[in-house]
């Protein structure tokens, strides 16, 4: 059994794409279609890595990312952001949330801006999980 990777994305096509990449590279994919479902599966499945979209209905990636990175049980799970949102926009949103009285959060382990090739996604995961 390969390492478990959770994909959180509201777009079924993106999930299908990521799932295929993960399977092709020997990982075990787990799918969530929004932030709420994602948090639930993190607790239940304890994935080794999370591939996270930013803009989603029902708890965005911005919120989920923050919740994970400030929770001592989950903050060590590496997160790869895969989004159409530019990296600097995402980082700015986290900075603003920190300024409004949150704990500072580290930058994500990797940030991939769509569109992304299958190989690029696979290489990124491999680099983190070894």
């Amino acid at each position: 059994m390969g390492k478990k990777v959770l994909v959180v994305d509201d777009d079924p096509d993106v999930r299908l794409f990521s799932q295929a990449v993960l399977e092709e590279n020997g990982y075990t994919p787990v799918m969530a279609k929004n932030g709420e479902e994602g948090e639930e599966l993190i607790r239940k499945e304890a994935p080794d890595l999370i591939i996270l979209d930013v803009l989603m209905p029902r708890e965005s990636g911005i919120r989920l990312y923050r919740n994970m990175k400030t929770n001592k049980n989950f903050k060590n799970i590496p997160i790869v952001i895969l989004s159409g949102i530019a990296e600097k926009s995402f980082l700015r949103s986290q900075k603003v949330l920190t300024e409004f009285g949150g704990d500072p959060v580290p930058d994500p382990e990797a940030y991939l801006e769509k569109p992304v090739d299958g190989e690029e996604l696979a290489d990124t995961i491999k680099k983190i999980l070894g």
């Binding site: 509201d10 777009d11 993106v14 794409f17 295929a20 092709e24 159409g84 769509k114 569109p115």
Partner: protein, 506 residues
């Protein structure tokens, strides 16, 4: 000041005696012994009255009289004549002497003559002063009048507003260059040749007439926007202000002020167009997100197909191909929306059946709706038949609204809730059709409602380009219709679109 006298006589003895007696009467007296000397003194001293002997060697009294009367300085001349020299005396009167007295000069005769001369001088002085005053006054008034009329003329000529004024029987008497510019007819064809009704339509004249009593009551000018036909037969948009002029309750004429709205209308159109293009600009920047998602979809699709080919996995091939097809559709939708939005398209009224268009749209979306357990229903108004409307626009408008409604249900996704989207049509008065798209999906909060018609705002994550409602609104506005929205979070949304139609000529 004493009256100044000049005595001219070659007989110096009688002169000095006379001078002495006049001096004692309070006159200032100058004397000369000849006509020539007399004139010299006259020019220097400008006496009021000259008393001259008629017979003198050299220049005689008549000659002196004539010369003095030629001078600008007004002086009365009394001639002293010899006894029986009546002919000369009459001559002297003809040349402007005020009086004559006979020799030997008797004190009472001279006093009387002097008295008369003085009165005459006095009267003349008064008359002069009066005439001068009058002339002065006339000049001042004329100057002011000229200034005023010049001012008014310049005011009318340079006015940016067209001014057309008529007398009481509506002959055009004022027609300024701005009016010339608006109406196209040169002033020489109009002034004193045409009547108001030759320039303004009957309808306008009626409206104008109807206002006149209003104005008397309210003392306020009414203006309205209208179109005037110019010399080329083109309709020129103007703001028209009309008023009747009264003098002591009687009509003395009328004035119409015309504000040329061509430039404003052109600018308005330009502003609208450039705003729209600016929106497209913003949208293009903001749209990057949508485009990125589409490209990612293409990459995903081709990755799946690659895997499918490599492993001979038809399932993978199929889902990869579907993904690519879906993103091709997305791309064309996006491009078409952009084109529709940025293009200045004319509304094309063609015969169509609005109920059928609604049915077509529902049919096209039924699969997607059913797939996500959304019931799609139609409630057409049977009173709506075949009418003339822009069929393509209606199709796009309904397509956008109904697919939005279905999306709102899909996004809501509360287990156990049964979702429905209803498309209603309703025949309203005044050639209007009301389209309603009702859903019980997520609904929108105030913030989303405020933003939904602005550029690139999408709540749909990967699916939205942010252009759908912009395009929808533009098509509705182009069709002279309206769009309203009622929405509540958790309860759903109702869009109400009203579009005018034209009856089909049978």
């Amino acid at each position: 000041m004493a009256t100044k006298l000049l005595l001219i006589d070659d007989e110096t003895a009688s002169t000095s005696l006379l001078a002495f007696s006049l001096k004692s009467d309070g006159y200032e007296v100058l004397t000369a012994a000849s006509g020539e000397e007399g004139l010299e003194i006259f020019d220097r001293e400008l006496p009021d009255i000259v008393i001259t002997d008629i017979r003198m060697p050299g220049m005689d009294g008549i000659e002196v009289l004539k010369k003095i009367k030629e001078r600008p300085h007004p002086a009365e001349v009394i001639i002293i004549t010899g006894h029986g020299d009546i002919e000369n005396a009459i001559d002297s009167l003809k040349y402007g002497a005020s009086d004559f007295i006979n020799k030997p000069v008797r004190a009472e005769n001279l006093a009387l003559a002097l008295q008369r001369a003085e009165n005459k001088l006095d009267l003349q002085a008064k008359l002069d002063a009066y005439t001068k005053d009058l002339e002065q006054e006339v000049e001042t008034v004329t100057h002011e009048l000229r200034m005023q009329s010049n001012f008014l003329e310049k005011l009318i000529k340079t006015s940016e507003e067209g001014i057309v004024a008529t007398d009481r029987i509506f002959n055009v008497i004022i027609y300024n260059p701005a009016a010339e510019h608006i109406l196209g007819y040169p002033a020489k064809e109009i002034l004193h040749r045409k009547k108001a009704k030759d320039l303004f339509s009957q309808e306008l004249m009626r409206k104008y007439q109807a206002k006149r009593h209003d104005y008397q009551k309210r003392k306020k000018l009414d203006h309205f926007e209208t179109h005037l036909k110019n010399s080329d037969g083109q309709l020129v948009p103007v703001r028209f202000t009309g008023v009747f002029l009264y003098e002591e309750g009687r009509i003395m004429g009328s004035v119409a002020f015309l504000e040329d709205l061509r430039e404003i209308k052109r600018l308005e159109k330009e502003v609208l167009m450039s705003e729209r293009l600016a929106t497209v600009g913003q949208t293009v920047a903001g749209m990057a997100h949508g485009v990125k998602n589409i490209l990612h979809g293409f990459k995903g699709g081709s990755y799946l197909m690659e895997v499918g080919f490599k492993k001979n996995d038809t399932e993978k091939l199929k889902s990869g191909w579907q993904m690519i097809q879906k993103n091709i559709a997305h791309t064309s939708e996006l491009v078409m929306d952009l084109l529709t939005y940025s293009k200045d398209r004319n509304v094309e009224y063609v015969p169509c059946e609005p109920n059928d268009i609604a049915a077509e749209v529902c049919e096209a979306l039924t699969d997607t709706a059913t797939e996500h357990n959304v019931r799609l229903a139609e409630e057409p108004d049977p009173a709506i038949g075949r009418v003339a409307m822009d069929k393509t626009s209606i199709h796009t408008i309904l397509m956008n609204l109904v697919s939005n409604a279905v999306d709102a249900c899909i996004l809501d996704d509360i287990p156990g809730k049964s979702y429905a989207v209803t498309v209603k049509t309703l025949l309203e008065e005044k050639n209007m059709i009301r389209f309603e798209v009702v859903d019980n999906g997520t609904g929108m909060d105030k913030e989303v409602q405020d933003k939904m018609f602005t550029s690139f705002f999408s709540t749909k994550g990967h699916r939205g380009t942010g252009l759908g409602l912009l395009v929808t609104r533009k098509l509705i506005e182009d069709h002279d219709g309206t769009i309203d929205v009622f929405s509540e979070v958790g309860k759903g949304t109702t869009f109400i679109v009203k579009l005018p139609f034209e009856e089909l000529k049978t």
